[in-house]
């Protein structure tokens, strides 16, 4: 049982040298360790990406600032975007999924453990490749160095003639390599969820986290692949003299945009759907009610997955598509707001009539609801194509997507951190520090990203290393920059809380939250094999059935 497992682990740990322990981590195929490695890697990259953002915000605090040169600034926004999307957000959602999915479906590991490890190392190596560009890229006019073409790298700026040296190639190859890792992870998720559920766990009885990760993995399969294809084409252009996006030879810059955004839009759903999953696990437990409308939540997510493959050109409204093209993508983008809105209502419905406890995971999920609502509404504004002609390419859209990625995605990830930290480490985090983290972060977030909408509406484009005084942008940029510092402090508190609690936190026990899914039936942390005997389940909340044998779920589902 648990006590024996932990005792065994301790004995085993005591006899192992640092080298052996490190070797154990590097060669592991255990999904729990790989999940933790994904998460730690992402946290390190978060700090680096945050430094890049801070450098930009200092430069933009006042007009005509000289904190960094235009070349450095342009590298900063490219690296910041690329890092945050591919080496922070994706590894975070993959890491949590890798850790949780086998536990939640009652399996002992992922379907393909070695592929799991390979996928992680591909992702990690991709990040190293990207950052190696700082020292490895060379070329004319000092044009090498880190990539400076923006995270979506529009052609023909990425052609050899406009981007000399190897900086763009580092960008392209890093994404190609980490893309293979992403696809491998997706294959693993799909196979585990379809083929390794424990007896009794039909598709209609698995936790929402499993369903949503299934949809997400399907999107990765369909969306990351076009990016892989586009990177291969770009490399053929740059290395072999191809003309895919070579406008001087008749190639099409717009084709790159289509290919990129066919990836780029589903990508943001790849990031946000697992966050919906976290909210769908946390909100019920801290409201003490089951998720409201489980079948509709599944259906809405599947609908979002499908529709998300049809909206991509809303990133291209200003590019000169025909009015019919613009109209089509307007309507698909507006339609996707319906299933998304349904989910918000279902979460509110879950809280309704409950007994809400305001621990850190729930606080972050409530902030998620509020901020995701606003992000979705600014998204509706952007979906109206003519309005988009003013707002796109400006700080309004930068504010919108940060609202989603920071205000919804990162915030739910913080919630997930606090919720599953006890399970992963066996210790409770410090609730006071977590509350400090929460409030400081929310204040800093709103300072930055609420007010960032304004310069966009006043005509400030994005990706500019400086701006003219007298256009009314100064005060807003100053406030935005101050908020960034506040968020940075909050994140430092968060990291400190994690580290401190890992060593000094109270022992958590198996089930500190009185929750209902299978992972809470294991010890904290779970043994290597997860379950001594594979569980058999009868409802969506197997532990509720155990704790309430007089009133089990399977009578009502």
């Amino acid at each position: 049982m648990a006590s024996e497992t932990i005792a065994l682990n301790e004995i085993a740990a005591g006899y192992r040298t640092i080298g052996e322990r490190l070797h154990g981590w590097v060669t592991t195929v255990d999904h729990k360790r790989l999940g933790i490695m994904y998460i730690i890697y992402a946290l390190m990259m978060l700090v680096i990406g945050g430094i890049e953002a801070t450098i930009m915000r200092i430069q933009l605090m006042v007009p005509h600032n000289n904190f960094v040169s235009p070349e450095v600034f342009n590298r900063m926004f490219t690296m910041h975007g690329t890092t945050m999307i591919f080496f922070v957000a994706m590894p975070l959602v993959f890491g949590f999924g890798t850790y949780l999915i086998p536990l939640m479906v009652g399996a002992r590991d992922m379907a393909f453990p070695r592929l799991n490890a390979l996928s992680f190392w591909f992702t990690a190596f991709g990040g190293l490749l990207l950052y190696f560009s700082f020292i490895g890229g060379t070329g004319l006019y000092g044009a090498g160095n880190a990539p400076d073409v923006g995270w979506f790298a529009y052609a023909p700026l990425t052609a050899k003639v406009f981007s000399q040296g190897h900086s763009t190639d580092f960008w392209s190859l890093a994404l190609l390599v980490s893309g293979f890792g992403s696809i491998g992870t997706a294959v693993n998720f799909i196979t585990t969820i379809i083929s390794m559920r424990c007896p009794g766990m039909t598709l209609g009885k698995m936790p929402l986290l499993a369903w949503l990760n299934l949809v997400m993995a399907g999107l990765v399969i369909l969306a990351v692949s076009p990016l892989t294809a586009a990177q291969i084409m770009l490399s053929i252009d740059r290395y072999l003299g191809g003309h895919f996006f070579d406008t001087q030879a008749g190639g099409s810059a717009v084709l790159w945009m289509h290919f990129f955004w066919i990836f780029g839009h589903p990508e943001v759903y790849v990031l946000v759907i697992p966050c919906f999953a976290f909210a769908s696990e946390i909100i019920p437990v801290f409201s003490r009610k089951p998720i409201f409308g489980y079948p509709v939540m599944v259906a809405a997510t599947v609908a979002i997955g499908f529709i998300s493959m049809s909206v991509w050109a809303h990133h291209m409204f200003a590019v000169g598509m025909t009015s019919y093209g613009n109209t089509f993508f307007t309507v698909t983008t507006m339609i996707i707001s319906v299933p998304t809105g349904i989910k918000i209502f279902n979460w509110i419905g879950t809280m309704w009539g409950g007994k809400i406890q305001f621990k850190a995971p729930m606080l972050f999920c409530i902030a998620f609801l509020f901020q995701f609502l606003i992000a979705g509404l600014t998204g509706i504004m952007l979906s109206a194509s003519p309005f988009n002609w003013q707002l796109t390419g400006s700080y309004f859209v930068v504010a919108h997507f940060h609202y989603v990625i920071v205000g919804a995605i990162l915030v739910t990830i913080f919630g997930a951190f606090y919720y599953w930290f006890p399970k992963m480490t066996g210790r409770m985090y410090n609730e006071t520090l977590a509350q400090w983290h929460f409030w400081l972060f929310v204040i800093g977030f709103h300072l930055t990203f609420d007010f960032m909408h304004v310069p966009g509406m006043l005509g400030m484009p994005r990706r500019i290393y400086t701006y003219e005084p007298g256009r009314g942008w100064e005060i807003w940029n100053l406030i935005v920059s101050v908020g960034a510092v506040v968020q940075g402090i909050a994140i430092l508190i968060f990291v400190f809380n994690l580290l401190w609690s890992m060593f000094k936190g109270e022992p958590a026990g198996n089930d500190p939250w009185d929750a209902w899914t299978l992972e809470w039936s294991t010890s904290s942390p779970p043994p290597d094999y997860n379950f001594a005997t594979i569980p058999v389940v009868q409802s969506r909340r197997p532990l509720w059935d155990l704790k309430h044998p007089e009133d089990p779920d399977w009578k009502y589902e």
Partner: protein, 373 residues
């Protein structure tokens, strides 16, 4: 089954973590609600302030102060969109706030679980259908504006301009009027009764750019090998500011735009002036000689002389412009000298090379350029 009680609500598994006192919980909740509301009200006020007019109204490229039909159509659509999203926000925010406050666990809670509700078909149907209807209304309103702006017919009497984007400056040609200029666009004011809009064809010589003058129209990209077009019909004279809105390289930030809306007589006079070749001013022949014998003519054109380069801006009437380097500096003798001698100090990374002339030559050259009115 005995283990269950240890994890159940009666137990205190959160050993070591303080249970929040009721007052703390309440404060936490209300604090959250108020903070959220306060912050949003602040934003609204801020928006109102910025949308009101501080000094120099036309200098602020405010998308909510349109002065041309495309920008105006967008503005009117945006009012509908903002109203609808505003109402949705208020409704849903109220629901979230209410749920958070009303259904919080009280301090005197008995630890029992609340009624376990799994869903409700009627409610879920309602909150599917109503958003669907809202989307339908929004879409229809939007589609009308897309068609009216993008597919607007070009009336006779429209001014035709071809804008060619370069790294990091704007080339403007008026094919029907025989005018070539750079960076500062002159258009006539358009009377709504008898419109004289300006239709701008958008091309690019190198990478992607975007033409954005917020008070006049939404932005449209300039993409090589993919001609686009946009149009404006400003209703008031004045200077309207904008800049390139698609990252095009290292000096994207300083590819600024100035649109001068002139009265019709002023515009016609400007056209007449621009059509003339450069006047050969004898006092500046030394500078002209330097211009024509160093690398200047490889990139620049001065009509009526041997200078016929197309890589850089046409300089025939450069003194009629208020700025140089695509708006990066005012057109003064000092700035002109700096720009020729060391462009990186004004626009580091621009494609203008440092000419490295000695002081005497530099003065002569600047004097010559100043004759190009």
């Amino acid at each position: 089954m005995g283990e269950v009680a240890e994890c159940g609500p009666d137990a205190n598994p959160r050993a070591g973590s303080k249970q929040m006192k009721r007052s703390e919980q309440t404060r936490g909740v209300w604090g959250r609600v108020f903070a959220g509301a306060a912050l949003f009200v602040c934003v609204l006020f801020a928006a109102k302030i910025c949308l009101a007019d501080p000094a120099g109204p036309s200098q602020i490229p405010n998308i909510f102060k349109p002065d041309s039909t495309p920008a105006d159509s967008i503005f009117r659509l945006s009012k509908l969109v903002l109203s609808i999203t505003g109402v949705v926000f208020l409704v849903v925010f109220s629901l979230i706030a209410y749920a958070t406050v009303k259904f919080r666990r009280r301090g005197n809670d008995d630890g029992s679980e609340p009624p376990q509700v799994y869903g409700s078909n009627q409610v879920e149907l309602a909150w599917t259908v109503i958003p669907g209807l809202i989307v339908l209304v929004l879409f229809l309103a939007t589609a009308r504006v897309i068609l009216s702006v993008q597919d607007a017919p070009k009336p006779t009497g429209a001014i035709e301009v071809v804008a060619i984007g370069h790294q990091y400056w704007w080339e403007f040609r008026y094919p029907g009027l025989g005018v070539v200029t750079a960076n500062e666009l002159h258009v006539p004011v358009s009377d709504p009764q008898h419109p004289t809009p300006t239709f701008i064809k958008l091309l690019s010589a190198d990478t992607d750019h975007s033409f954005w003058v917020p008070r006049l129209a939404g932005k449209t990209d300039l993409i090589p090998n993919h001609p686009n077009s946009t149009w404006i019909d400003p209703h008031e004279t004045g200077l309207f500011l904008g800049q390139c809105a698609q990252y095009c390289g290292v000096q994207h930030a300083k590819m600024l735009l100035r649109v001068y809306v002139d009265s019709r007589p002023d515009f016609d006079a400007w056209v007449q002036q621009e059509k003339q070749p450069a006047v050969a001013a004898d006092a500046a022949t030394e500078g002209r000689h330097i211009f024509e014998s160093t690398a200047c003519i490889n990139c620049h054109a001065v009509s009526g002389t041997v200078a016929d380069g197309h890589f850089g801006p046409d300089l025939t009437h450069m003194m009629s412009r208020d700025t140089i380097a695509s708006g990066a500096a005012l057109n003064t003798r000092e700035n002109l000298r700096t720009w020729i001698q060391n462009p990186d100090s004004i626009k580091p990374g621009s494609l203008m090379p440092a000419m490295k002339l000695n002081n005497h030559d530099l003065d002569a050259l600047a004097a010559y350029l100043e004759t190009l009115r």
